[in-house]
């Protein structure tokens, strides 16, 4: 489909020029929970559920080609599973997907004392952050970066070079000198000319992740 072909040609350095033309309508931003949406999600859920037992296992997710190929696929899949469990029911499925719901204007006006909804900006960013933060210590360390890198570039780059890339990445992003990337620094990396590539107004990265999970 259209969005796919546009996205396919998308390279990170092309983001700057791409942002105005990104197909927002095609991005699946329909997480204001209405019944038809739930129906749709449920049908997706059942189509993923090959065991037909009402829950999804990791294998079910890995059957999605986009996730199977994605170097971060395992992390994304992990995000669906509460700690220590390897099955997720529809409710859990929805709970994770709720992260992707767009923030609406009326929600912004909400009472500040109320607890933060799942789809708040912070939570969105946190979701992206946790894709890289394996041990959940709120820091992306050099080792974690190395792991991601190794998955992304394969065997063509030597370990030394990989290490230098990771070091350089940390050097760029690190601002407080703890030799790792904290949440705040992570957000700053995504900031690009007033647009946050993680969870900006158009939810670039997150919506791609969502699309990869949901598209047939």
């Amino acid at each position: 489909n259209g969005s796919k072909s546009v996205v396919r040609t998308l390279r990170p350095e092309a983001f700057k020029s791409m942002i105005p033309t990104i197909p927002v309508t095609n991005m699946v931003c329909f997480f204001a929970v209405s019944h038809s949406q739930i129906t749709r999600l449920y049908s997706r859920f059942t189509s993923l559920d090959k065991g037909e037992n009402g829950t999804l296992s990791r294998e079910d997710f890995q059957r999605i080609p986009e996730l199977a190929i994605n170097p971060l696929g395992d992390r994304i899949i992990n995000a669906f599973f509460p700690e220590g469990e390897d099955q997720v029911n529809f409710r859990g499925f929805m709970r994770t997907l709720a992260h992707f719901r767009p923030i609406e204007d009326n929600e912004k006006n909400k009472d500040p004392t109320a607890s933060e909804p799942l789809n708040s900006r912070t939570n969105k960013l946190l979701f992206a952050f946790q894709l890289y933060d394996l041990d959940r210590d709120d820091k992306i360390s050099r080792d974690e970066l190395l792991q991601v890198l190794r998955m992304m570039v394969g065997v063509n780059i030597s370990d030394e070079q990989l290490g230098s890339i990771a070091d350089r990445t940390i050097q760029e992003a690190d601002q407080n000198g703890d030799n790792s990337i904290s949440f705040n620094e992570f957000i700053k990396v995504g900031n690009l000319q007033h647009i946050n590539v993680w969870a900006g107004d158009h939810y670039l990265i997150l919506s791609y992740i969502l699309l990869s999970v949901l598209q047939d």
Binding site: R8, I64, I69, Y132, S164, I165, D167, E172, D178
Partner: protein, 959 residues
């Protein structure tokens, strides 16, 4: 689906829906109650869905959610386009204010109860409720309380209104055909409504107070117009009925337009030929190799246009309307050649039927007009021949100008080069393993490119040694260029001497000496240059440019010898032609006088000779054309054979003989070939030069070249993907391939010279080609001006060619060039200055933060946690001194800011590595983390102090 299952789903949905709402919302009880009531209120006019919600609204809402973002964007764009600066500012403020203000207003409404406000508020509330009853969206407790209160007050009236509302909407839904449209109509969310309303209000206020503003009349008028337009456009959206419908329609059209544009963009991308192929090559071999293929594609486009000119305006008319083959001598193979005219060897040499065909100059007739269209073929021929140059020049220069906009030498100077690549380079929608492989390769390649760039930035060693080496390398290369130039000169001179001797006395080597030497030089010199260039240690991108320039200089010798030989040939042919021409004229005169004396009549028929038997001149133009075509063909053969043997065969041998060989062929000596960028680019450029020069004498050459480029695109893409390995140092090509273009321009100019020279000075052959019988080729133009155009144009032409007019014009142009050049330089400087400033600001900011955080990590953390900074007076006091130091230093010299952290200690990466990264061997793998940008280890800077660490623990002095 079985009905039972359906029910099941429905129940689940109900379940989950509430569950999730509950999670998302505070005060869910209130919400539920409130929603219930709403449902009841609207139950009657609407068809109820299974779960108490009408299906249509759901659809609407979905559409709304999906489409909200683009619409918002579109509106923002519109607004910003309309507004002047001031307005924009105001808008920004209003957006910022939106959240707080709206909330504030609601409170106000409850407390103050001022009439106007309330009315407004009510309206707003109504709209909101209209929304809410559909979606059951989240609202805060306060709002709900407020609404409940109001409901108590005038629940009845509202209910009625709402009913009407509902009906209205239903009607609209009925009217509109698709669900998308219906979604559009009702898709304004309340937040948007509010902000829109506010904007409109503001505009109105502005209109009212515009009179008092201390602005100029012009500006006021402009503002007024804009404001009125805005109010007119958006007021409708806030009202009910027609205005709203119109607005909805507009919004829908805008949305459709956006979608169409997007689709069109996609379509355009899909239409770019070979885009996918080139991307694939790029992902494996880097942008530098891809730049060659992009250049090749560009060249193909250019040649297609040239071919269209040539074919449409010269070849086709002659074929359609000119005389057929065999009708006149120039279109017939001479009797002597007829026996062998179809031999394959002759045809391969472009003799025989090929020579007397539409492909070459000689075939064209000199009739002023041909066919029913009165097409002036000779004129068209000349104009196309010159126009090809004109068009090429224009296109090349325009492309260069456009490329220079993008500018940059390819190195990216963002803040987060690596981090951005690291986190965002994966394309989450890749589902195809093959595409994924390409993506992996391209990520790897781009990392490698960045590493090379980084290394280059880090490099900083003995500058004197480097300078010396570079001078030495240039000296060596100049020597070898001079040597080869002399060799060429010597050989050419010798060959001229040989030409005077008897051909039978010469040995094979003596006959082919020039070609032999030329190809030997072409074989030996480029690798030699490359070897010498390693002394220089340039960045591979710059090294490529030097290499290109040097080989270009070498090839110029090639070109020079070729042209030299060609002119000799032409001169010889001209001599021969003169004698034949005289003989022909003499023979004709004899025939006429004999005929008139014999038959005693002045009415003499032309001599009855078969066209194949007529004696004719050598037709030097066709000879030149044949030379060029031959050269092009042999070039194609050589290129293709080189790829087949040098790359394919080598790759086969390396791949399959590796199983039974003493050493590792793949890693060791022969290995796989790298793609030779410089050689290929120069081959392409010189080939194009041949085409430009030869096109005038062989109109078919352009078509041949189009075929060549087309096949070589596929062939080389295949070859590079299957037989070559990426370069050792994959480097990023410059964004603009202006260097290629510059070389092309030079070649274009060089090839323009001989053609123009022949057109202007050499007399055309008397019996072949479109200009036969004229003194000079350009006489065709004169003829046309004199005969076909009104007299005054001839006069104008005479004046225009007057030296008195041309000289001032040239002077004016020179002045204009000077002026424009100066301006562009100024702009360039300003740009550089700004860039520097930005970099400085960035570094300063970073350093300040580093320093602060360095000195007081814990305090910083605390500060992050606490919303109010003033709660921490001691921390502030402690923090003060270091930033001052930094600022002082930063303001003193920008260099300081760029220095990498020097306050190294064991905790993080050792900073010493940064310095040692500037390793002398560029081909070595990156063994160390690249440091920050900018000259590192600058000896001139102050000694490393605590202020400039990149935040790796505390500075040594404190330990």
């Amino acid at each position: 689906m079985p009905s039972q299952k359906k029910n099941d789903i429905a129940i689940r949905m109900e379940d989950v829906g509430i569950e999730i709402d509950g999670e998302l919302d505070s005060g869910s009880e209130d919400e539920a109650r409130w929603r219930d009531r709403n449902r009841k209120a609207k139950a009657s006019p609407r068809a109820r869905g299974r779960n108490g919600k009408p299906a249509t609204t759901e659809d609407e809402e979905e559409e709304e959610d999906q489409d909200e973002a683009p619409r918002k964007r579109a509106r923002k764009k519109k607004a910003s386009a309309q507004d002047s600066e001031e307005e924009e500012e105001e808008d920004d403020r209003s957006v910022k204010r939106k959240g707080t203000k709206a909330a504030g207003r609601k409170k106000k409404a409850v407390k103050e109860e001022s009439e106007e406000e309330e009315e407004e508020e009510e309206e707003e509330e109504e709209e909101k409720r209209g929304k809410k009853k559909k979606g059951g969206k989240v609202t805060s407790k306060k709002q709900k309380d407020e609404q409940n209160k109001e409901k108590k007050g005038d629940a009845k009236g509202k209910g009625g209104k709402e009913k009407g509302d509902g009906k209205d909407k239903k009607k609209k839904n009925g009217n509109s055909s698709s669900s998308g449209e219906s979604g559009d109509e009702d898709s304004l969310s309340e937040g948007e409504m509010a902000s829109l309303k506010e904007e409109v209000e503001e505009k109105k206020k502005l209109i009212a107070t515009l009179r008092n503003k201390p602005w100029r009349m012009k500006r006021r008028l402009k503002l007024l117009k804009e404001c009125q337009a805005f109010v007119e456009e958006f007021e409708g959206a806030l009202g009910k009925g027609k205005g709203r419908k119109l607005y909805a329609y507009k919004v829908m059209m805008a949305k459709k337009m956006i979608k169409f544009n997007r689709d069109f963009d996609n379509f355009k991308t899909a239409c770019i030929p070979w885009e996918r192929k080139i991307k694939e090559v790029e992902s494996h071999f880097g942008s530098s190799v891809a730049s060659y293929f992009i250049f090749l594609r560009w060249m193909y486009g250019l040649n297609l246009v040239l071919f269209a000119f040539m074919f449409g305006l010269v070849v086709l008319p002659e074929v359609m309307m000119g005389l057929p083959y065999g009708s006149i001598p120039r279109k017939t193979v001479p009797r002597a050649e007829q026996d062998r005219a179809m031999d394959i060897s002759v045809l391969l040499d472009f003799g025989g039927y090929c020579k007397y065909s539409i492909l070459f100059y000689g075939f064209y007739n000199d009739e002023r007009t041909i066919g029913v269209l009165q097409f002036r073929l000779p004129l068209s021929y000349l104009l196309v021949g010159v126009g090809i140059f004109g068009y090429s020049l224009m296109v090349v220069i325009r492309t260069m100008a456009r490329n220079s906009d993008e500018g940059g030498d390819g190195g990216d100077d963002g803040q987060f080069t690596f981090a951005f690549k690291m986190f965002t380079s994966w394309d989450y929608l890749i589902g195809n393993p093959e595409t994924a492989d390409n993506k992996y390769a391209s990520i790897t390649t781009s990392f490698k490119e960045s590493i090379v760039d980084e290394q280059e930035n880090q490099k900083d060693e003995n500058i004197h040694l480097r300078r010396f080496l570079r001078v030495l390398a240039n000296f060596l290369i100049l020597c070898s260029l001079g040597g080869s130039g002399f060799l060429i000169y010597f050989v050419v001179k010798r060959s001229q001497e040989f030409a005077n001797l008897d051909q039978d006395d010469l040995s094979w080597f003596e006959k082919n000496e020039v070609e032999f030497v030329m190809s030997l030089l072409g074989l030996v010199c480029p690798p030699l240059f490359e070897t010498i260039a390693e002394l220089e240690e340039y960045h591979p991108r710059i090294a490529l440019k030097w290499q290109l320039g040097r080989i270009f200089a070498l090839f110029l010798g090639n070109l020079y010898t070729f042209l030299f030989a060609l002119f000799d040939e032409v001169n010889a042919k001209l001599e021969k032609e003169k004698s034949i021409r005289n003989a022909t004229i003499w023979g004709l005169n004899e025939y006429y006088s004999n005929y008139s004396s014999y038959h005693n009549t002045t009415d003499i028929p032309p001599p009855d000779i078969h066209p194949a038997d007529v004696i004719r001149g050598p037709c030097w133009e066709t000879a030149v054309g044949i030379e060029f075509v031959k050269l092009t063909v042999s070039d194609i053969q050589v290129t293709y054979m080189t790829i087949l043997i040098g790359d394919f065969l080598r790759a086969m041998i390396v791949r399959f003989l590796n199983y039974c060989w003493c050493w590792d062929l793949e890693a060791g000596f022969p290995s796989y070939g790298e793609f030779d960028i410089s050689g290929n680019v120069l081959g392409l450029i010189f080939n194009q030069g041949m085409i430009w020069m030869g096109a005038f004498y062989a109109p078919g050459l352009v078509g041949l070249n189009v075929l060549r480029l087309l096949t070589s695109m596929y062939y080389q893409c295949w070859a590079v993907m299957s037989c070559n390995v990426p370069h050792e140092r994959v480097f990023k090509a410059s964004k603009s391939n202006n260097f290629y273009m510059g070389l092309l321009l030079l070649v274009l100019f060089l090839s323009l010279l001989p053609v123009v020279y022949t057109i202007m000075t050499l007399p055309p052959s008397f019996d072949c080609g479109p200009f036969s019988g004229r003194e000079q080729m350009y006489n065709v133009v004169m003829e046309t001006i004199e005969n076909d155009l009104p007299a005054f144009i001839g006069n104008i032409f005479t004046y225009a060619t007057n030296p008195g007019l041309i000289l001032p014009a040239v002077l004016l142009m020179v002045l204009a060039i000077y002026y424009l050049n100066a301006t562009s330089k100024n702009y360039q400087n300003a740009n550089l200055e700004l860039k520097k400033k930005m970099q400085m600001a960035r570094d300063e900011e970073k350093n300040r933060r580093n320093n602060k955080e360095n000195t007081n990590q814990v305090m910083q953390d605390l500060e992050d946690l606490l919303p109010n900074r003033s709660l921490l007076p001691p921390a502030a006091a402690e923090e003060k001194p270091p930033p001052e130091i930094v600022r002082e230093k930063g303001s003193k010299s920008p260099k300081v800011a760029k220095r990498p952290g020097a306050a190294a200690n064991g905790k993080g990466i050792n900073i010493q590595k940064d310095v040692s990264l500037a390793a002398p061997n560029p081909k070595a793998a990156v063994t160390h983390p690249p440091g920050p940008r900018g000259p590192s280890g600058n000896a001139r800077g102050p000694p490393p102090g605590p202020a400039r660490g990149r935040g790796r623990g505390t500075p040594p002095s404190r330990r």
